[in-house]
């Protein structure tokens, strides 16, 4: 299959994925090209697949430039950077990496909750700076038993709910439709969910409908003691509004793994001790990234060997 061209639109930073792709295909690394348009033009007739990730996918413009494109295999579960309707229209297959990263992302959501409520990062800074010698750190606030509201009860949302239940947290959720057989309390709007929980977690897919689903009104409803946890996508939250809500004390705290313009994070957040900021590491463990890479490669192999795709979305 060496003659099959695969265009990697994301930075080629994960050696295992790059190696496995290069073993099987001719890999074109778009991010390394000095002139991307020229690069695409030069290789467009051999490119039959695109590999992207959470940050870089395949938009309509790119798809139009690749006449031989048959499949987009995303190194992520979120597909907001892939033009799905365009792919459907052109009968291009699309795969992602569900399930293998569910536990890691859910773990991180709980980790962020604990880190924000119990001020773990700030406590660590307090010790390292020598401040402990001058006096005890102040009281934080209990996590166990706090009510958790989850936006989106898919695989990741459910995994977060199961974990939070172990901490005796009452669970409620918002989704487009109420889910039968789910014991958690449903709210038909995000504002009502936010008004009725202490910790609000974003765990839904990013689509046109969910863009800025956490807006000023939602943050005000969550309130000065409420904490927002975002392990979805940056654009789920109106970021400038988030910054002012935190600075003005209208929102109690935030644990954020994603931002509207990664890797740029609003600098006013850096001075706040009631936020924890992570560089999009939700699925960033050695084990999971390998499993994700195996799915990406496995899907491509299946496609070119005319076998059923492992994790198709389109």
């Amino acid at each position: 299959m060496e003659s099959i061209g695969v265009l990697m639109t994301c930075p080629p930073n994960f050696p295992y994925l790059v190696e496995e792709l290069e073993k099987r295909f001719t890999l074109y690394k778009l991010q390394n090209a000095p002139d991307k348009t020229h690069f695409i033009n030069s290789h467009k007739n051999s490119i039959r697949a695109v590999v992207g990730n959470a940050g870089f996918g395949a938009d309509a413009e790119l798809i139009e430039q690749l006449p031989k494109l048959e499949i987009v295999s995303s190194f992520s579960v979120g597909l907001d950077k892939v033009d799905l309707p365009k792919c459907k229209e052109k009968r291009i297959r699309v795969t992602n990496t569900p399930d293998v990263l569910t536990n890691d992302v859910a773990d991180l959501a709980i980790g962020l909750m604990l880190a924000v409520l119990r001020r773990l990062c700030e406590s660590d800074r307090y010790v390292r700076s020598g401040k402990w010698k001058k006096g005890d750190y102040k009281l934080t606030t209990k996590f166990t038993g706090k009510s958790v509201g989850i936006i989106g009860l898919g695989r990741i949302g459910m995994a977060i709910a199961t974990r939070a239940e172990a901490f005796s947290c009452p669970i409620s959720y918002y989704a487009r439709t109420e889910k039968p057989d789910v014991k958690y309390r449903y709210y038909p709007s995000v504002i009502e969910l936010a008004a009725n929980c202490q910790i609000l977690v974003v765990a839904c897919a990013l689509t046109e409908e969910t863009h800025h689903i956490v807006n000023r009104e939602v943050m005000n409803a969550l309130g000065p003691k409420g904490v927002l946890i975002n392990i979805g996508r940056g654009p789920h939250v109106d970021e400038p509004e988030l910054v002012s809500a935190l600075l003005e004390g209208r929102l109690g705290g935030a644990g954020l793994d994603v931002f509207e313009d990664e890797p740029n994070v609003p600098e006013p957040l850096f001075g706040l001790e009631n936020v924890v900021l992570l560089p999009h590491v939700g699925s960033g463990t050695v084990e999971t990234r390998k499993a994700m890479a195996d799915l990406v490669v496995g899907n491509l192999e299946a496609h070119f060997l005319k076998k059923p795709l492992l994790t198709p979305v389109v």
């Binding site: 880190a115 660590d124 402990w132 005890d136 209990k142 166990t144 924890v276 590491v281």
Partner: protein, 298 residues
């Protein structure tokens, strides 16, 4: 020293005295009014101009109970000076600062924090574990220092395998050898002092991590630091240290440790619950009712 406490302003000769050698964190945060009762009054040793020995001798006959935290040890020598003491109330889960054998010999009951710290202590232990394994504090530093922009994506953390049952190990080395993460939450006693030693850390291994929300002295701290610096274990989450608040300098430089200033149970919810338990124990004692959270001999 001006005494603003209304209990001592209207000092009643009849109310039994509860001795406080040093202020306790929970009282310092919540205020003395949270602990007041019409069944007893507090006697604060540090407010007296008298040297401690004289102070204790003066009030020996009226001190029937002692309220203490880790800062003030209750030793056999102290109890010798206070023959009327029948109850020691620890404002903590730990009782390693109390000579339990001496209390037992003298027929003195001891109470501790019972269950009020369990949730927060457990949350903190899990929080430290998450932080160590998923590098939460380190990654947060990375972002705040502008390195996500300058250097790119953060290096990967690791997820460990999960157990669903709780097998018992009678040998701590075997437990360490079979675990990815070792969490210390036992009491500090003569048996557990430096229980986590070179052998145990070696069994835990290069991929293993340790979390301590018990007492610093349960771990041989020098050995722990050496193992961390030399990569013989993967990381540590520590809320307690052998000589608080002095932390070994090498720990402050390490990226694979998370440090917290002995605040695993420092939440308003826990402190309020503790104050209620302390008052409850004292009132029960002075009303000849069963204690709420007696420390049982094991």
């Amino acid at each position: 020293m001006e005494n603003k406490d209304h209990n001592q302003n209207h000092q009643s000769e009849d109310l039994p005295q509860v001795l406080l050698l040093k202020p306790t964190p929970v009282m310092a945060v919540l205020g003395e009014h949270q602990f007041s009762s019409n069944k007893y009054q507090f006697l604060k040793a540090w407010e007296s101009p008298l040297p401690l020995c004289q102070f204790l001798t003066k009030y020996a006959n009226s001190i029937q109970a002692i309220l203490c935290s880790g800062a003030a040890s209750v030793t056999d020598d102290l109890l010798q000076l206070l023959p009327s003491v029948r109850l020691v109330v620890a404002a903590s889960a730990g009782t390693n600062h109390i000579d339990l054998m001496a209390c037992c010999r003298r027929g003195i009951s001891v109470t501790n924090a019972g269950n009020v710290f369990s949730d927060d202590g457990a949350d903190a232990a899990v929080g430290l574990l998450f932080d160590i394994l998923r590098k939460i504090s380190a990654a947060d530093r990375y972002v705040r220092q502008g390195l996500w922009v300058k250097k790119g994506d953060y290096a990967l953390g690791s997820k460990k395998k999960t157990f669903v049952s709780y097998p018992f190990y009678s040998n701590i080395c075997e437990l360490a050898a079979d675990s990815d993460a070792l969490i210390i939450c036992c009491a500090l006693t003569d048996q557990t002092r430096h229980m986590i030693n070179k052998e145990v850390l070696s069994a835990l291994g290069k991929e293993g991590v340790i979390v301590n929300i018990g007492r610093g002295a349960i771990i041989d701290e020098k050995e722990l630091v050496r193992c961390l610096v030399e990569g013989e274990i993967a990381g540590a989450g520590l809320d307690v240290f052998e000589k608080e608040p002095d932390i070994p300098k090498q720990l402050l430089e390490l990226e694979n440790v998370v440090l917290s200033p002995h605040n695993a149970v420092f939440t308003p919810e826990s402190f309020l619950a503790l104050s209620e338990l302390v008052v409850g124990n004292l009132e029960a004692f002075f009303s000849n009712l069963p204690l709420l959270s007696p420390v049982m001999d094991e």
